[in-house]
């Protein structure tokens, strides 16, 4: 049986790419994408419907297109409109509206949610690795992380009311992509990176290919449940920066807080609020369930993901290549001078 899939937030990088992958898959009959803005590039084989998921129009789309699988990728750290209020509105109210529509739909059999490992928060009291059953030590109180917690709550409620629908919740670690706009990617793209003085957090990142593969697996196979999606292994931030050849500027923690961040923002070195706690305490997640229950073995470790990310970046100010080039220039210079000396 072919599937009719609805992808929300389809104009964004990850969702657009996922829709492309779905359209090529033999088990998928039809892919419908909805978003408030049209995608920048056309997506072959995907029917785009310009609709706001915050409006009841979504219900009609579900019915008209005979959708059986909903892939909810619209929960994002920043909305196209920009402001935090509208982002929250779109994330939380949009999800509520979509879930309400799904609950009334007679055709929907599966819901795939993209959430984030930021639901675990980041605090000094955290265990080293979070597995899916654990809750946050300190609940995230703002930003994208809080949106994710709320959306997950609504999805749990939906799953309770519609036990016949398979619900797969994928908690993605920070996605590192040279193309997609994710908070971690844009942070690591800064020419000089503010880090928190005296803290070297553990970070776990995930490669875009592994994200796409797990999303596809969740659509094509029936694997209900909640799964952490991350690359195996962790890196510490200083190590990531060394690998990327970026300069770090350690600043005291308070300058990154709400008041102090305005100074940094003025210097165009803004750190997204969600990231500050992560940059202090770090986070690791257990991916045993992903490999053993969900059935996806990540192909890229966190370290390999960072290295792959590096290839898509212009070299940093203290990148290995630049250091070697400078070294070569210096030695060349000196040998040249020595030659002149010996001739003279």
């Amino acid at each position: 049986m072919g599937r009719n899939v609805l992808v929300t937030g389809v104009s964004r990088g990850l969702a657009a790419q996922h829709a492309r992958v779905l359209a090529l898959h033999p088990d998928v009959t039809k892919v419908v994408g909805v978003d408030v803005v049209p995608p920048r590039q056309g997506i072959d084989g995907v029917k785009f419907i310009r609709a706001d998921i915050r409006s009841p129009v979504v219900g009609k789309v579900l019915a008209v297109e005979d959708v059986d699988t909903v892939v909810h990728l619209a929960v994002a750290p920043s909305s196209t409109a920009g402001s935090r209020t509208s982002t929250k509105e779109s994330n939380v109210v949009g999800s509520m509206q979509l879930l309400a529509a799904c609950q009334h739909s007679a055709t929907v059999r599966k819901l795939v949610l993209k959430s984030s490992t930021s639901v675990y928060g980041a605090s000094p009291r955290d265990p080293a690795m979070f597995s899916e059953g654990m809750g946050p030590t300190r609940s995230p109180r703002s930003g994208f992380a809080k949106d994710c917690v709320e959306v997950e709550g609504y999805v749990r409620g939906f799953a309770r009311r519609r036990p016949d629908v398979h619900v797969t919740n994928l908690r993605l670690a920070n996605v590192l992509s040279p193309v997609w706009d994710t908070p971690m990617s844009s942070y690591l793209r800064l020419p000089v990176l503010p880090t928190v003085l005296g803290f070297d957090p553990r970070l776990q990142v995930v490669h875009p290919e592994d994200v796409l593969e797990s999303l596809l697996r969740a659509v094509v196979h029936d694997v209900p449940g909640t799964f952490n999606v991350a690359g195996p292994g962790v890196l510490v931030l200083s190590q990531v920066l060394r690998r990327l050849g970026r300069l770090a500027v350690p600043v005291p923690a308070f300058t990154l807080s709400r008041g102090g961040s305005t100074i940094l923002a003025a210097l165009r070195a803004n750190v997204p609020g969600d990231l500050v706690q992560l940059l202090m305490h770090g986070r690791g997640v257990d991916i045993t369930a992903l490999t053993e229950v969900f059935g996806h073995r990540p192909r890229h470790t966190s370290a390999a993901t960072v290295d792959a990310f590096l290839l898509g970046l212009p070299p940093g100010s203290v990148a290995d290549s630049r250091v070697r080039a400078a070294q070569a220039r210096l030695t060349e210079d000196r040998s040249h001078r020595e030659k002149v000396d010996s001739h003279g």
Partner: protein
């Protein structure tokens, strides 16, 4: 007295030494007749021929090239210093160190899931602690054969000394004598503090919670716990070597769930390093720390008071207590957990009394 000419070597007839005057003193003037530099040279060389020979290349070069010490000499000196520092195979060792530095700078090293950096710990932290353990505390390690060569085990130890130096010393003892890394479980305060949190994770510590303990033990690691916590480390000097309550027995439950042996560890000596005679509870509350210690030398002598007293240390690892014989639900039986906790506590307390007798005087 023509052949017994007195030449003041130190001042060379220049202004008097020690008087800080620009003109030579009367005594110096009478001692040093106006000799020419030509005359002075040979006499000095004759007086100390070896010293002069040794000085010759350096001093003559320095006078010929006023730029400073020549490069070659500097390199020779460096090579000699490296030989002194690293021993015979200094070249290989220096190359290894350079490779290490390069690896560090490129970020191509590995940390485990807990942020543990084995290479850095072995190379730097342990090397830094070793002289303190050997020369300052004269740590005597006993019963190291009780630490299994491989597989998970839980080392349970008494805690004392105001600052957790005993944890570091146990880590070193295990590293040097058993050839394994001890993974300490720490309080959440450590992980909230800048610098300290980074160091703790790098050296293999993680938060003292059951999830981390079980994850480490299940992974076959050697885990260290100090169940007395702040109650033990921050107790008054008069209470020394009296074990406090052993937490809530969470460590026993973790060992039972993973079926690993418990190795009781008794440390004598840590109590005397910073004898705690007082506390400032109000300031401690204000700063959010468990206590502000007052020792005979701190804060009286300021930073000097931070130097630990050189007490004699004994670290003894006792016979392992097996937990794999208990049934599957043992960890969920509070009575059993309490009993085993008491058993471990009693073992350590008995060992402490024996070690104290054996040690005799605390300092020298």
């Amino acid at each position: 007295m023509g052949d017994a000419e007195i030449i003041p070597l130190g001042v060379r007839g220049e202004p008097g030494r020690g008087s800080r005057r620009s003109t030579p003193s009367a005594a110096a003037r009478s001692l040093a007749p106006p000799v020419s530099s030509h005359q002075q040279g040979p006499v000095r060389a004759g007086a100390t021929p070896q010293a002069a020979d040794a000085e010759q290349p350096g001093t003559s070069d320095a006078s010929a090239t006023p730029r400073g010490i020549p490069m070659e000499d500097l390199l020779h000196a460096l090579a000699a210093a490296a030989g002194q520092f690293f021993g015979e195979e200094w070249e290989a060792k220096a190359a290894e160190l350079m490779a290490f530095a390069r690896r560090r700078l490129a970020g191509s090293y590995e940390v485990d899931d807990f942020g543990f950096d084995a290479e850095l710990t072995s190379r730097f932290l342990m090397s830094a602690l070793r002289p303190i353990a050997q020369s300052w505390f004269r740590v005597d390690v006993r019963g190291i054969e009780n630490i299994p060569d491989q597989g998970g085990a839980l080392v349970v130890s008494n805690h004392s000394g105001t600052i957790p130096v005993d944890g570091l010393m146990t880590m070193l003892a295990v590293h040097d004598h058993a050839g394994r890394h001890l993974r300490p479980l720490g309080a959440d305060l450590i992980f909230a503090l800048p610098v300290l949190s980074e160091l703790a994770r790098r050296s293999g510590a993680t938060l003292g919670c059951s999830q981390d303990a079980e994850r480490l033990l299940a992974g076959g690691e050697l885990v260290g716990v100090w169940p007395e916590g702040f109650k033990g480390i921050g107790k008054a000097y008069s209470e020394r070597y009296k074990l406090q309550r052993f937490g809530r027995g969470g460590f026993v439950a973790a060992a039972m769930r993973t079926g690993v042996p418990i190795v009781p560890c008794s440390i004598v000596g840590a109590e005397e390093i910073y004898p705690l005679i007082g506390n400032i509870p109000s300031l401690a509350r204000l700063l959010g720390v468990p206590y502000i210690p007052i020792t005979p030398f701190f804060p009286l002598l300021g930073p000097l008071g931070l130097i630990p007293l050189p007490s004699k240390w004994l670290i003894e690892f006792g016979e392992p207590i097996r937990t794999d014989a208990y049934g599957a639900g043992a960890a969920d039986d509070p009575m059993l957990v309490f009993n085993v906790t008491d058993q471990v506590r009693e073992t350590i307390q008995q060992a402490l009394y024996e070690l104290l007798e054996r040690r005799g005087r605390a300092f020298f």
